[in-house]
Structures are given as structure tokens and as C-alpha cells.
């Protein structure tokens, strides 16, 4: 019986030691900027280049680097915001930033861009425009990517198809041709608005130009959704298109059972690394008919709560132009927002990674055909209101009319709500 007392004693002693140990740790507060990146933990060498370049201008400021996965990124960021310790420089994907910008959480960098023309001139104006909210600039591109159409040439040959589809209807008919057994013809990623080019290609607008009302409930839209639903039911369109995130669609395409994949550029290296059969001869990269695409670029933005805005801006410039941008491009195999740097990057990729060049080429074409990037304050809420209803129609739960009508109601309600 005594041993239990001894055990308890020992345990408690040990416990108190641990308490002491851990409690004696703390954080040191010095002059620092915190940078929160979006799921690029492997990007280390380049990041350190940024830091050393930054410290040449601001030796007194230390850089703290954080990186979070997309699914937890906003959880972390917003918790930090509430706690008043928001990361100063943030790397954001999609429309998430609109929420923050509209609520006044981000720093307006318009004047910086006006001031540093030598920097601003290097950046593609169309892409810079993706981070303008109510006439103010909030972000600059860290790396650029937009959706394109990958197609499995082997399956095309099998189905007796020569080239990529030239029109939207051809896209569907091609998909239909290739679909049988475990094989499906077409698949798209669906997070953010990545599937929207399918709608834009058919001239459908989500919102009225003033972004005040829903504009998508038109006969054309109904017809299109019906088409898509049919194709999905018949297996021409793989159902993962409407349910999966990115792992599953890319994995499925890599398995060689999907004819066409509508995805963003980084997907290419992912499924290439997963399948030996993928190379220039077997996988084509082209535009969706009409050249429409949804940008999926990442931007650097600055939190309103930043202590040293000028220093933060300097860091942003280092990271998104010149040598810093080049480091990022090489480190993540992406193009940057810096025209000059992209020239160098292309020559680098032709040497090191020729397979990726045709894919990246598409990223700089049809910059006038970007869609799915409306600067609507409630972007995320609109998405949440719209997409589930769309799924209803696409997966045959509701008729296209009803689904779009309901979606319209919901979206309008979101837009009217305070």
C-alpha cells in the first residue's frame, strides 16, 4: 500500500518541476516585424535572402517568420488580431483579404505605390488591380497563378481527339467522348471561385457591376447549369469536381483516368511528381475556351496594426521585386508579379525544369480575361451562400431553376444585410 504514497509524492515533485521549467519561459519583445506566409514552409533559403536584404536597410529590426496551412491560416491570423498581436506582413490567397480590408484591418498602400514608381512600373498593372478595394491598393503580388486547362493527351488519342477543345460545347462533348468505366472526361478545382471561368466563358455575371445585387439568375445560366449537371450525371464531368479540394482532383488526374483538369498552375508540379507518365508529350497545358481564368495569386498585405509601416513596405518591396522575387520564383517554381524578373525566371526554368515552361507561359496570357475576383466586401459570404446551392443543382438534388433562384435570394440577402 505504501508504494502509492511514494508514487504520488514522486509524481507531484516531478510535476512541480515541470511547471517551474515551463513557466520560466517567455517571449522577448524587441523591434520586430512578423511575416505570416501561406503554406510555403519549405521556402527557407529564399526567405532568409529577403531577411538579409532587409536587414541591410533596417539592421535594427528583426523579422519573425510564421507559416500556416490554408485551412488554419485565418483562424490563426484573426486570433492574433483580436489579441492585438497581428502579424504585420501577411501572405493571402483568394478573396480573404477583402473581409479584412472592408473592416479596416489592412494598411492602404496606394501612396507607397505612387511614391515608388520605379517599383510599381515593374509590376503587371492588371494583377496589381486584383487587390484594389474601393479605389485603394492593399496588396502586391507575391507570386502569380491562375487557372488553366490541363489535358491528358493519351486519353485524347484513345478517344480519337486531336487537339484541345476550341469551344465550351466542344469541351463538354470531348469530355463525353472520353468518359467510360472508371474514366471521366473533365474535372475542375472548386475552392474560392476557381470554377467560375466555366460560367464566365458563357457570359454569365455573378453580380451587377456595382456589386450590389445578384445577376447570375438568367436563362443562359440555367441552361449552362443544366448542361453541367447532365454531364456530371453521365460521368463526363468527374463528381470530385464539385466536392473535392485540391488533393483529390490532382491525385485523380495523376492516376490518368481524367481527360481534362481545370486547375491552377501549381497543380502541375504536384501531379507530375505523383505520376511518371506526365511530361510535355502526354499532358497539354492550354486555356479554357475563350481564355477565361480565375486568378489564384498570392499577395503580400500589411496589417493596419503595423508598428513600422515604412519598414514593412520595404520588406514587401524586397520580397516581391528584383532578387527577392527571383528567389521566390525559383524557390516555389512560380512566376512573380515582376515583369523583369519573370524574363530571368523563364530562362531559368527552360534550363532546369522545361516541363513547367508551357504551363507558366499560359499564366501571362489573357490577363484581360480574369474572372472570379470581384472586389466585393462580402466575397466569402457570397461564396458560402452561392456554392452549396450550385452543388444542389450540379449533383442533381434540385433543378437548375430552383437552385439558382434560391441562390439569388440568399446572395441578395447577404448583400443587403448589414
Amino acid at each position: 500500500m505504501k508504494r502509492y504514497e511514494k508514487r504520488l509524492g514522486l509524481v507531484l515533485a516531478f510535476f512541480s518541476i515541470l511547471l517551474f521549467m515551463t513557466a520560466s519561459q517567455g517571449m522577448t519583445e524587441d523591434k520586430k516585424l512578423t511575416v505570416l506566409t501561406w503554406n510555403i514552409p519549405y521556402f527557407e533559403e529564399g526567405f532568409n535572402q529577403w531577411v538579409s536584404a532587409f536587414n541591410e536597410i533596417h539592421p535594427d529590426i528583426t523579422i519573425e517568420r510564421l507559416d500556416k496551412k490554408g485551412s488554419e491560416w485565418s483562424t490563426f491570423y484573426q486570433t492574433q488580431v483580436v489579441a492585438g498581436t497581428a502579424p504585420d506582413i501577411i501572405d493571402v490567397q483568394g478573396g480573404l483579404w477583402l473581409e479584412y480590408a472592408s473592416k479596416g484591418g489592412l494598411l492602404d498602400i496606394t501612396d507607397y505605390l505612387k511614391r515608388d514608381t520605379d517599383y510599381t512600373e515593374r509590376i503587371y498593372p492588371e494583377i496589381l488591380g486584383s487587390w484594389v478595394f474601393e479605389g485603394k491598393n492593399y496588396g502586391v503580388p507575391l507570386y502569380i497563378s491562375k487557372t488553366l486547362l490541363f489535358y491528358n493527351k493519351l486519353m485524347f488519342k484513345e478517344a480519337g481527339l486531336s487537339g484541345p477543345p476550341a469551344s465550351f460545347d466542344e469541351l463538354l462533348s470531348f469530355a463525353q467522348k472520353m468518359a467510360q468505366g472508371e474514366k471521366t472526361g473533365f474535372m475542375t478545382l472548386n475552392f474560392d471561385w476557381l470554377y467560375w471561368p466555366l460560367f464566365a466563358a458563357n457570359g454569365i455575371e455573378l453580380l451587377t457591376p456595382d456589386l450590389k445585387k445578384a445577376a447570375f439568375n438568367t436563362p443562359e445560366a440555367v441552361a449552362l447549369v443544366e448542361k453541367l449537371a447532365e454531364a456530371t450525371a453521365s460521368g463526363a464531368i468527374n463528381k470530385i469536381s464539385w466536392t473535392g479540394r485540391w488533393v483529390e482532383p490532382n491525385g485523380a488526374f495523376a492516376s490518368g483516368t481524367v481527360g481534362m483538369l481545370h486547375a491552377h498552375a501549381p497543380a502541375f508540379l504536384w501531379f507530375k511528381s505523383k505520376a511518371d507518365w506526365v511530361n510535355e508529350e502526354t499532358v497539354g497545358a492550354t486555356h479554357l475556351p475563350g481564355g477565361w481564368s480565375t486568378p489564384n495569386s498570392h499577395a503580400l498585405l500589411i496589417s493596419k496594426s503595423v508598428k513600422y509601416p515604412d519598414a514593412a513596405w520595404d520588406f514587401v518591396k524586397i520580397a516581391t521585386s528584383g532578387a527577392g522575387a527571383e528567389a521566390l520564383g525559383k524557390g516555389t517554381n512560380n512566376l512573380t508579379g515582376d515583369k523583369i524578373v519573370n524574363e530571368q525566371l523563364f530562362s531559368y526554368f527552360e534550363k532546369e525544369l522545361p516541363a513547367v515552361v508551357p504551363v507558366l507561359k499560359t499564366q501571362l496570357e489573357y490577363l484581360d480575361k480574369l474572372c472570379g475576383n470581384w472586389p466585393a466586401a462580402k466575397d466569402a459570404e457570397i461564396k458560402e451562400a452561392f456554392y452549396p446551392e450550385l452543388q444542389n443543382a450540379l449533383l442533381g438534388q434540385k433543378s437548375a431553376q430552383d437552385a439558382l433562384a434560391d441562390a439569388e435570394k440568399k446572395v441578395n440577402r447577404v448583400l443587403q444585410k448589414r
Binding site: 505504501k2 508504494r3 511514494k6 519549405y42 508540379l269 524557390g331 517554381n333 532546369e352
Partner: protein, 125 residues
């Protein structure tokens, strides 16, 4: 009584794990001089003298040549002191190249290894 506290299956498992780990590290300590040796032959299985052998670290993101040596008259080559655990070897002489860069994966950084299969020169196209 004390025995029951210090010698029970929890502590035992823990200690055993530690010991195994230590042994493993000891083994590493004596086998991580980063020596990688092998030989280069041509298609008729003849050794190839002073062919360039390039050792490169290659992940999906970085493809960086890290070291390079020449083969001796018997076609043998030997790298020393690399700190890689996943690397690729490629032999070349003049315009002849080894079929495809040979992937080598090791159990720890700089593990000493002797390639059984020689790199075959000019066996492609």
C-alpha cells in the same frame, strides 16, 4: 517499493527506446563520412576512365549539383563528405551521358554506400 516506481514496464520501455536510439546514433557516428563509391562502364560493360560523375541534391524544388569527381582508369569513382540523404548521380564523358540520373536514397545524412550497379554510359537513344 522503489523498484516498483523505477522498474516498471513504462520506464523499461522508455529506457529500451533510449538505448536503441543511442546505439543507432553510435552506428551513424561511424558511418556518416558521406562516402559514396561506384563505377562507370560503357554499354559493353567496359570501365570508363576519367568520366565526370556529378552528384546533385534533387528535390522537387531544388536541383543543385553539389559535387563532382572523375573516374580512375578502372572506372571507379568516390565521393566523400556529402551531407545528403536523397541524391542523384549522373555520369558523362564527352557527349555520352549515363542513361538517366541514378537516384540514391540513404537512411541518414552522409551514409556511406557502395553502388553495386555501375552507371552505364551512353545507353540512351
Amino acid at each position: 517499493m522503489l523498484k516498483s516506481i523505477f522498474i516498471n514496464r513504462y520506464t523499461m520501455t522508455f529506457t529500451v527506446t533510449i538505448v536503441v536510439a543511442l546505439l543507432w546514433n553510435l552506428f551513424i557516428l561511424f558511418n556518416d563520412s558521406g562516402i559514396l563509391s561506384g563505377r562507370v562502364v560503357d554499354r559493353n560493360n567496359q570501365p570508363v576512365a576519367d568520366a565526370r560523375v556529378v552528384l546533385s541534391e534533387k528535390t522537387l524544388l531544388v536541383t543543385a549539383p553539389r559535387d563532382e569527381v572523375k573516374t580512375d582508369q578502372n572506372g571507379y569513382f568516390r565521393f566523400e563528405g556529402h551531407r545528403l540523404y536523397h541524391l542523384y548521380l549522373e555520369a558523362m564523358k564527352g557527349d555520352a551521358r549515363s542513361s538517366s540520373s541514378r537516384e540514391v536514397r540513404l537512411y541518414f545524412k552522409g551514409q556511406n554506400k557502395k553502388l553495386k550497379e555501375p552507371l552505364v554510359l551512353g545507353s540512351d537513344r
